[in-house]
Symmetry: C2
Subunit: 457 residues, 2 copies
Amino acid sequence: MSKPSLPQGTRDFGPAVVRKRNYILQTIRRVFELYGYEPLETPAMENMETLLGKYGDEGDKLIFKILNNGLSDAKNIEKGKAAFENVLAGKNDKNLTERALRYDLTIPFARYVAMNHGQLALPFKRYQIQPVWRADRPQKGRYREFYQCDADVVGSKSLINEVELCIIYATVFEQLGIDVTIKINNRKILGALAEVAGATDKFTAITVAIDKLDKIGMEKVKEELAANGLQPEQIAIVESYISISGTVSEKLQALQQLIGESESGKTGLQELQYVTGSFVQFTGKQNLELDTTLARGLNYYTGCIFEIKANNVQMGSIGGGGRYDDLTGLFGVPNVPGVGISFGVDRIYDVLEELQAFPAFTSSSTRVLFFNLGEQESAAAFTQMQLLRKAGISSELYHENAKFDKQFKYAEKKQIAYIVIIGTQELTNGVANVKNLTTGEQVTVSFNELANYFTRL
Amino acid sequence: MSKPSLPQGTRDFGPAVVRKRNYILQTIRRVFELYGYEPLETPAMENMETLLGKYGDEGDKLIFKILNNGLSDAKNIEKGKAAFENVLAGKNDKNLTERALRYDLTIPFARYVAMNHGQLALPFKRYQIQPVWRADRPQKGRYREFYQCDADVVGSKSLINEVELCIIYATVFEQLGIDVTIKINNRKILGALAEVAGATDKFTAITVAIDKLDKIGMEKVKEELAANGLQPEQIAIVESYISISGTVSEKLQALQQLIGESESGKTGLQELQYVTGSFVQFTGKQNLELDTTLARGLNYYTGCIFEIKANNVQMGSIGGGGRYDDLTGLFGVPNVPGVGISFGVDRIYDVLEELQAFPAFTSSSTRVLFFNLGEQESAAAFTQMQLLRKAGISSELYHENAKFDKQFKYAEKKQIAYIVIIGTQELTNGVANVKNLTTGEQVTVSFNELANYFTRL
């Protein structure tokens, strides 16, 4: 018998971790729902053709494919052999793998909208919290199975959505106790920059270079732009763009001067003005920051883009998103614009651990352990325990009449806050001894009062 | 562009369905936690060797295997070819498929316990609610991806666990509003029956035949027993066993006479006596029924076994479970006994639909739609809406200043209960018109009072 193990890059989530993860996910879910976003769940498996070609060549290679069943059936053998030759040649073949595991939540969402758009009430606001799988090389913080947590609204061009998504970010992180900066920019501004620099054909090269500023610094960005064929005067324009600083309104003014003549620039500025202005108006908060160097890699973004940075922790972005023009065109349904955000659940978890900001209730699911001190005693304990459970207090009776010490150790190991002792003496007197394992405090409470005692705590 | 589709046997869960499913799962989860069960989550993928050989030959064929990535890399080609030959010959080969999708929750749980038993506080009470995948032929009510919902306690032989699991069943179904019978029996009793009939070597044949009684009737059961080589007098004993009827205590008495001399029978009777007696003592409920014909197919059960039947609906069992002696022996860790139950989530969903017993709150996530009647009006609406959201009331502002009719239709389609109208007149007066879309009732409420108004509803 070989020792059992887990596939590389996957994780078990034991009770302590699940409780903390659920705390994060429940917080996010509750806020999504307050804002009218509705839950969607799609299957782990999608047909190969739904996924292939959506994530670039590199992405295609990282999709986990599911071997067709029944390959050894006589009728399938010849087809299977031919298909396997294709796979060895680096191609995909339905006769070997008809299905694959979900690689993200966006494409399944697009597939769902395309399949159901006749029935959906538009705008359709959905959230989705499910695992995805990628055959990436596992490393610290990168897993082959991980959760994505997305909210999107499709079928609406209204900027009210952008404002609300920013407020959702602010609300979730406030509730989680994480101090964040919500960075915003607009792809139309980046487009206008390329235009003003006379380099619209180099739009992607410019955004890619700007995107790296944080990591490589201004000089390297300029080198990269030069390497991509930008002239010194063009690079100077990009540099002056990157160097814009000050408050939101100072930045908007500077942008107005630099790219305000461009049509795309004008629209981008109006959008940013509206979203940043409304955010302050409706929340009174100051943590939405216009960051002209925010670019977001994905080419499908067309309007406002967002990214979340935790202020007091060294950590990459813990959320991001943006507006896109066309979600479902790939599936034959054109003109479905939308805007969405996502939360980086694994990183948020790490931030909360580092800040020691998980609330105490996540540390244990059982609040009260009743000691088991014999048949009659434990029958009385059981009766009391049922009253506590009825009052919503999670409780356990130790499973057997073991030594005190053993029962104590169990309570400690499970981080149970209270123990209740009902021995012969207590049974006769109709009382229970309650001990707070954190403070060591001990009180005697009558059976009649026990459930109330814990409810009041 | 071919029309997008879903893999056979898989489902999208749209918002209305997810809300109803979450209502079921949350109810179960809350009760599990009240009883000290803790959440566990394992990865969708397991190593092939963790799963293979655990579900019988038929089961092995129904496991979804994941194709290794990088098969077309030069270094893998030869190994891959040899592996594919093995697969065509009906074997499994790690060089083609190292990993596979979870087939149930029990084996991953056993693998988890085996890997972590040094760290776990025993007894370990865990619950797990996750999807599993099986390459079964899809048909009505049978899916290739479906959720299992299990609670098990391992590392304890105490019958307190059996009692609590029965109470968990009773509590969950009471909360869901489903009238159920909890059937209980004991594999030791079935063993004693085989012993008393002088057919211990035919134990499995006897349990399998008895298990079919519901479907095929007594005569066919007797035929099957005869076909398995049981003599008429042996069959007569099985028939008298099956025919036992009456209240729990009458049945226990009849069993005492029939199999009470057997050691295994004695223990089985004591266990049933304790569990059924304690259930009545601690719940006052009468819906735990001793069903001597309950056998449960799985051979690993060794003590009490359970099955749940909904009383007012035609439907197979909606839950089941039992005690086993050895969870982790397969993974090299012996002597971990346990007992567990599971809930059939898909069937429970169907039962609730048939009984029309889903609570009203599952029908929509948004309670209040604010109409959008222009820039100033919608700014006022937005301010009010934020107050409602702060008070925990899920609300939306229609995304654009559209015709009344269009906004109404959106509210109707999303089954939103209330609309709030703030037009020019209302804006001047600082009031909102609130309309209940179910009753048609309309009231005017001042801005100051609006959040309170909805909180009080």
